[in-house]
């Protein structure tokens, strides 16, 4: 974390023009043939904790397009996680609507939600969340089993995915026998198991060193380029700005700013010997 303190912080206040409204930011990417994969309309989420009303989200309107690589940034407590839970179909909003692939999430039953989580969305967690008692291959094939893929087919696809993330020869290792970066790569392979349309990454590089984090980001970028999977990435990692298409800042439960990468002035520093 100290290292990051030296890195340039792209403050929105440093730019000369006023914040771009959310709807406008969406329009800038609207192009023929691009389909909205996730859309939220006036998304609000309130929690009541010990009789105190906490407004985690205060009305978020956003549209995310197919094949986009979008970074969501924001300080702790900004509502980033809540936003993630909403668009990941993990939690239901207090008001407003979430459409994933044109389907209103609020209308889905528990079983349909399970289907959605299984096939449409891949999750990547900060702490990898691999199942400890399964080998890498079993970890990757578990979502396929839930999705009803035949074991042989699941095995073949699992090996292929592990090959994609460069762990084809370590399929029989358990998470405890792998480094953090390798575990995260297995997690990426797992998230791709059922060929989802969206990858939701919750700070995928936060627990990794600079170099390994870079590898993970490269893999994500490659998946985005080659497979056209939409990637939404919550992060504090400014290298993310280097590779993503759009950036979104959340603060106090609202979208503060959405900008294309070329609109943001990013300066990523480097420190002795290591390229960030």
């Amino acid at each position: 974390m100290i290292v990051r303190g030296f890195l340039a912080w792209p403050s929105i206040h440093s730019s000369n023009h006023p914040p771009i409204p959310a709807w406008k930011a969406c329009d800038t990417l609207e192009a023929p043939g691009r389909r909205v994969i996730i859309r939220t309309i006036d998304l609000k989420k309130h929690y009541v904790i010990r009789n105190v009303l906490t407004e985690a989200l205060r009305g978020v309107d956003v549209a995310i397009y197919t094949g986009e690589f979008i970074s969501v940034m924001g300080p702790s407590g900004s509502g980033k996680s809540t936003f993630f839970n909403m668009i990941g179909g993990l939690d239901s909003p207090t008001s407003g609507r979430v459409f994933i692939d044109e389907v209103d999430v609020a209308q889905l039953t528990a079983i349909e939600l399970a289907f959605l989580r299984c096939r449409k969305i891949g999750y990547i967690f900060q702490e990898y969340n691999l199942i400890q008692y399964m080998t890498a291959l079993e970890n990757v094939t578990t979502p396929m089993a839930f999705g009803g893929v035949a074991p042989d087919e699941a095995r073949r696809r699992g090996m292929e995915l592990l090959g994609t993330v460069g762990l084809g020869d370590r399929w029989f290792h358990r998470p405890i026998e792998m480094s953090g970066g390798q575990q995260q790569r297995v997690a990426i392979a797992r998230s791709m198991a059922n060929r989802p349309s969206v990858l939701l990454c919750d700070e995928p590089t936060a627990n990794l060193d600079l170099h390994t984090g870079r590898e993970i980001l490269d893999i994500l970028r490659r998946l985005n380029d080659e497979r056209g999977v939409t990637i939404i990435c919550a992060t504090h990692d400014h290298r993310m700005m280097d590779i993503c298409d759009r950036l979104m800042w959340i603060r106090d439960g609202r979208i503060e700013r959405i900008a294309r990468r070329d609109e943001v002035h990013v300066e990523v520093g480097s420190i002795a010997g290591e390229t960030a």
Binding site: E102, C118, F125, T142, F146, G147
Partner: protein, 463 residues
């Protein structure tokens, strides 16, 4: 809006669920062992009680038959000594009234003291029939019976009164039989020539048997052979027990066994004679001292000792309460203890499973993020518990049986092996193991529900 192309999530096959569960159990072997241990202890307790109860019943069944068999000679001694009471003779009278008398006697015998006192003024046995011959007593009996709603005569009251009228005749009949029997006993006694009855009965197959038969007793050849053998054994046993009575013999046995002479008694002697070496040594001493047991062979001494052992354990088995009520036949207190142990077991498993669920919050949430249905999570935990319950149940049932066997083997020895209720015990092992599975499954319902209801967003939480 385009049509929803979301369909229902397929349910994971049972085989795959079992596979994943077994994988998890293997990984968390230590925690699993705790659960298994809890189930095993509870089931072992239950199985120990059950198997002891089963063995005890089997022993008692076997002992009852064996004792009647072993006491044949004693029975004959009694028969040849005493003409018997009215109750003893009644079953031998082949008349309807005698059968009724037996039934009424059983009925009066079953009454408690207060009631018997109210109805019969404390008259016991056949005296009651005599007492009720008086009209006043009968009137009182009738009135008393009317007030006791829970007491029912085995036959209508009119029949009973009819029986009472027939009683004097029946009594006379019994008295005649008794007199005849006393005569026969006197005839046999005259032929004893100063021997004791047991000594005389050693000759039951020969001349003395004829004497008994000619006096009017029914003694067939097979019975005579067994009576003779038992009588010989009793005579020899008495000889052996008597032989240790002299101070010199006591001193010698005490020296051999490293005891105080005062502690030497018949029981110690039989213990010494149980083995061939001891028997041979004792015999040598007897022959040297011209003792009572000098004429016996060493083999005979060992045989007598083992018969004595058997008689002792049979006597113990006979004294033992066969069934003292309650579900297990071990008394109601034991049932409560068992119930409490089952409850503790359920709580223990529940606790262990709850901890397992709490520990695995993230795993469960991740599985849900990957598309696991609530049912799968629930089934996974119930299966895990049931699996542990099965292992614990089988281990516990076997342990409990072993323990019960060992505990019964100590006092009853070979009687246990001879009458071990194999089929019933196997059934009980199966039932107890099943109970282990059931307990574990019941105990895991709440933790499993908790796991199944877990929100998938818990996976995002950073620990």
């Amino acid at each position: 809006m385009k049509a929803i192309e979301i369909c229902e999530q397929p349910v994971l096959s049972f085989r795959r669920t079992v596979q994943i569960t077994a994988n998890g159990v293997r990984y968390r072997l230590f925690r699993s062992m705790v659960t298994v241990g809890v189930v095993a202890v509870a089931v072992a307790f239950l199985m120990n009680i059950l198997s002891e109860s089963l063995i005890r019943r089997a022993i008692a069944r076997r002992a009852a038959g064996r004792i009647a068999d072993l006491r044949l000679a004693a029975t004959w001694v009694a028969r040849l000594t005493d003409a018997g009471s009215i109750e003893e003779i009644l079953p031998e009278v082949p008349s309807d009234a005698a059968r009724q008398a037996a039934a009424y006697l059983r009925f009066f015998g079953g009454l408690d003291y207060a009631r018997r006192r109210a109805l019969l003024r404390g008259a016991a046995g056949p005296e009651a029939f005599d007492a009720l011959q008086e009209p006043a007593a009968l009137e009182r009996f009738r009135a008393g019976l009317a007030t006791m709603r829970s007491v029912r005569l085995p036959a209508p009251l009119a029949d009973f009164e009819g029986f009472l009228r027939a009683w004097p005749t029946l009594k006379a009949e019994v008295a005649a039989i008794r007199a005849k029997r006393a005569e026969a006993i006197a005839a046999v006694a005259a032929k004893l020539d100063g021997r004791s009855l047991i000594e005389a009965l050693t000759d039951a197959e020969g001349a003395f048997g004829d004497v008994v038969r000619s006096a009017g007793f029914a003694l067939d050849a097979a019975t005579a052979r067994r009576v003779a053998e038992q009588a010989r054994r009793t005579r020899d046993a008495r000889l052996v027990e008597k032989s240790v009575g002299t101070p010199e013999m006591r001193q010698a046995v005490a020296g051999y066994l490293d005891l105080l002479p005062n502690d030497v008694n018949a029981r110690v002697l039989w213990g010494l004679l149980r083995h061939h070496r001891g028997a041979a040594w004792y015999l040598a001493r007897q022959e040297a001292a011209q003792g009572d047991a000098a004429g016996l062979a060493a083999g005979r001494l060992v045989e007598l000792a083992s018969a004595e052992d058997e008689a002792r354990s049979l006597a113990r088995a006979e004294r033992m309460a066969v069934a003292s009520g309650g579900f297990t036949g071990c008394g109601e207190r034991m049932d409560w203890l068992l119930l409490a142990s089952m409850l503790v077991c359920v709580v223990g498993i529940s606790n262990s499973m709850l901890m397992s669920v709490t520990e695995r919050f993230r795993e469960i949430a991740t599985l849900k993020c990957l598309g696991a249905l609530d049912g799968f999570i629930m089934l996974m935990f119930v299966l895990e518990a049931a699996f542990l319950g099965a292992v614990g149940g089988i281990v516990g049932a076997l342990l409990g049986t072993l323990l019960g066997f060992a505990r019964m083997f100590m006092p009853y020895g070979s009687l246990v092996t001879a009458s071990f209720p194999l089929g019933e015990t196997a059934l009980m092992i199966a039932v107890s193991s099943a109970l282990g599975v059931l307990l574990a499954a019941i105990a895991s319902v709440y933790p499993s529900l908790k796991a199944a209801r877990l929100a998938p967003m818990e996976a995002m939480r950073i620990q």
